[in-house]
């Protein structure tokens, strides 16, 4: 009893943690760097927030690592230098995304009103005020384009994934490489391909289905690679159990493996849709523009969100650019929602 009591008065020591003095010195260096950076901004060619930030980071890094070099020696000085550098790198990664989100929301909400989602632009010129016209036709067009691309690419993508995980034939390695290569095909090349293979020789006119074909080419690799990862996670026990019960491979895959991987496969499809929903270049070549509702995917130019944004951006009037930002906001929200759904399905445990 006495021994335990004697321990209770002693606080555990943590020599590796920064002492109050160390913390005070760090804060001091921090404040001094801000002041010094401000001075640099005043006397040199650096100016504005960007110059302030850059010179602050540079000065802070220099002083802080100099101090740890004097106090602790070179090993710890390098360590603290890298500490700051990785934090700065992460910060630089996050700046663009924060800026993009901020700009799109702050510039995009002005053009939104209820009719924006139902009306089309057929009676509007670029100079019309923001409470007229809308992108209903573009939303419909994007829906049609994406649905057709979905119908084409999902079977092919999932079959490819099944080949890579279930059959594992002689072509496994080349096909895995080809899928990888396909995911690197520039979107404009996919557009040119459909142009050269179908639009010029056969149809000679823009239509939604041609755009969908190009989008399908871009979507297949995303679906195939994500689906392959998901199918690889299915435990082999399930496959062996299916075969041991007398099932053929077809029954095993169709009744056991695919249902077990269902939520993951849905994730794969949704990530594919998110990849193509905002794809612009092939749409510009193939689907044509169109500022009115078009319900027929087989003929006539079909509007779409990327095309609406592109046109509004190119028109260049203030109202038109405001419409472009609003269109971007709508597109961004769609990508957000798709991504959230994919996360929801992706986080569910495989096999349940």
């Amino acid at each position: 009893m006495t021994t335990t009591n004697s321990y209770q008065g002693i606080k555990p020591q943590r020599p590796w943690q920064a002492s109050t003095k160390d913390k005070a010195i760090t804060v001091g260096i921090f404040l001094f760097s801000i002041a010094f950076a401000y001075g640099v901004v005043l006397v040199s060619g650096l100016n504005g927030k960007l110059g302030m930030f850059a010179s602050f980071v540079f000065i802070f890094v220099a002083i802080n690592s100099g101090r740890s070099y004097l106090q602790f020696g070179s090993a710890l000085a390098k360590d603290s230098l890298v500490n700051i550098l990785v934090a700065v790198g992460t910060f630089l990664t996050l700046i663009p995304i924060v800026s993009i989100l901020f700009e799109v929301f702050s510039k995009g909400y002005k053009g939104l009103y209820l009719g924006f989602f139902t009306r089309d632009m057929s009676l509007n010129s670029p100079n019309d005020p923001l409470n007229t016209g809308g992108l209903g036709h573009a939303i419909l067009g994007t829906l049609i384009l994406v649905s057709i691309a979905l119908v084409i690419s999902v079977p092919i993508g999932i079959l490819t994934a099944l080949y890579l995980t279930e059959i594992k034939g002689n072509f496994t390695r080349p096909i895995r490489f080809l899928v990888q290569a396909m995911s690197g095909v520039p979107s404009i090349v996919a557009g040119l391909f459909i142009l050269s293979a179908i639009l010029y020789p056969i149809t000679k006119n823009n239509s939604a289905i041609l755009g969908s074909l190009a989008l399908a080419i871009l979507m297949i690799p995303t679906v195939a690679r994500t689906a392959e990862e998901v199918l690889n996670l299915i435990p082999n026990d399930l496959r062996e159990a299916g075969v041991a019960l007398g099932g053929t491979q077809w029954r095993t895959v169709a009744m056991i493996v695919v249902p077990a991987a269902k939520s993951g496969l849905i994730t794969a499809v949704i990530l594919g849709v998110a990849r193509i929903a905002g794809e612009t270049a092939p749409i510009l070549l193939l689907a044509g523009g169109g500022d009115r509702y078009n319900y027929n995917p087989l003929s006539g130019p079909m509007g779409s969100l990327p095309h609406f944004i592109w046109n509004s951006f190119k028109n260049g009037t203030p109202e038109s650019i405001a419409r472009a930002w609003s269109g971007l906001l709508v597109l961004l929200v769609i990508v957000f929602v798709l991504f959230a759904i994919a996360r929801f399905f992706g986080n569910r445990k495989v096999g349940k």
Binding site: L50, L76, K78, L81, V82, V86, V88, G89, T90, L92, T93, I97, S99, I100, E103, V104, I158, L159, L162, Y163, L164, I167, F171, P174, I175, F177, L178, Q180, A181, M182, G184, V185, P186, S187, I188, F193, L195, S196, A197, Y200, I217, T248, Q249, W250, L271, A274, A277, G278, T280, A281, L285, P306, I309, F313, W325, L328, V335, F336, F339, R343
Partner: protein, 329 residues
């Protein structure tokens, strides 16, 4: 105790065979067919672009990739009188912009991948990974318009600074004082676009660094940086290079985001801060709008060149990532 007579019915001998059944044959056939579709599609892309662009390759020869001009003249009836296509400026511009983009993006991506793998507190890790993955899914038109309105002024600001203090280097010269729409700004937006891709690949590579060696390094008294230098970097170097190559391939094929910020001119320009540049993908979009049938053939040929270029880069990246996978085990 009487014995009852029991009759044993011996079933007919089952036929044991390893031959796949009919349903399996169909299944394997369909799945293999689906699997080979990627080969078919890539082959068709190559074939059709070659077929359509063949006239151009024949009339221009090697000059198509070594000269830089894009001239076409018509008579009144719209027939082509003379045409001269050469992609050199566009190709050099594409490669230049993508390389600068990778040079900017890789250090930042590796730093943030290291932070996410070894420095970030647990509660911060998951949301940050989600945000970076989300950024990788942003459409390129979003990046393009953001770059035009927001990034361009900041980019021009940095370009002026670089020119002021490092202007004696030939790369950073800019006599005309025209800083907007330069290859440097195009490279900045490409860097922003590939940072999420390179970051997530680097993070996956770092996550596979062997835990026993990490702990051994710590046990020997290594600081975090010493551990990273001794264990993580030698282990993941090839994977990171492969990720960078993948980013390079993406950057080369990017169309819309480059189109909005780059001033496309048919002249080879190595001064990255000067607002004159080239890009194959953007050229196709730029010329397509008013091109007639013959000029479109030239664009198809340009598309084929771009396609082959990205295939080569992707192939190299695949080899590097795979060699990493073999070593990692």
């Amino acid at each position: 105790m009487s014995t009852t007579e029991t009759t044993y019915v011996i079933p007919e001998k089952r036929e044991l065979t390893t031959k796949p059944r009919f349903s399996d044959k169909v299944f394997r056939g369909v799945v293999t067919g689906g699997g080979l579709s990627s080969l078919l599609i890539l082959g068709l892309i190559f074939g059709f672009l070659l077929y359509q662009g063949f006239d151009i390759f024949k009339s221009q020869g090697l000059g198509f990739i070594t000269t830089s001009r894009w001239d076409i003249t018509y008579d009144e009836a719209g027939n082509v009188l003379t045409s001269d296509f050469g992609l050199a400026a566009m190709l050099i511009g594409t490669i230049l912009c993508s390389f600068i983009a990778v040079l900017i993006a890789v250090p930042i991506s590796v730093a943030s991948a290291l932070y996410l793998s070894f420095y970030a507190p647990e509660w911060l890790k998951k949301p940050m990974v989600t945000i970076i993955d989300l950024m990788a899914a942003f459409p390129s038109i979003l990046f393009g318009i953001w770059a035009y309105f927001i990034l361009m002024p900041s980019g021009a600001y940095w370009a002026k600074l670089l020119n002021k203090y490092l202007g004696f280097l030939p790369f950073f010269k800019n006599e005309q004082r025209f800083f907007d729409s330069s290859p440097f700004i195009a490279a900045l937006i490409l860097a922003v676009m590939i940072i999420p891709i390179v970051t997530s690949i680097s993070r996956e590579v770092f996550a596979q660094a062997p835990l026993d060696r990490i702990q051994a390094a710590y046990a020997l008294g290594a600081t975090r940086w010493a551990m990273i230098r001794a264990v993580v970097i030698p282990h993941g170097r090839n994977g990171v290079i492969g990720g960078a190559m993948l980013g390079l391939g993406r950057a080369m094929g990017e169309t819309v985001a480059v189109y909005t910020v780059l001033n496309i001119v048919f002249a080879i320009n190595w001064q990255v801060l000067f607002g004159v540049g080239g890009n194959v993908a953007s050229l196709i979009l730029l010329k397509f709008a008013e091109a007639n049938a013959y000029e479109v053939k030239g664009l198809m040929a340009a598309g084929l060149v771009l396609f082959v270029l990205t295939l080569i880069v992707n192939f190299a990246s695949d080899l590097l990532i795979r060699s990493f996978g073999a070593k990692g085990k």
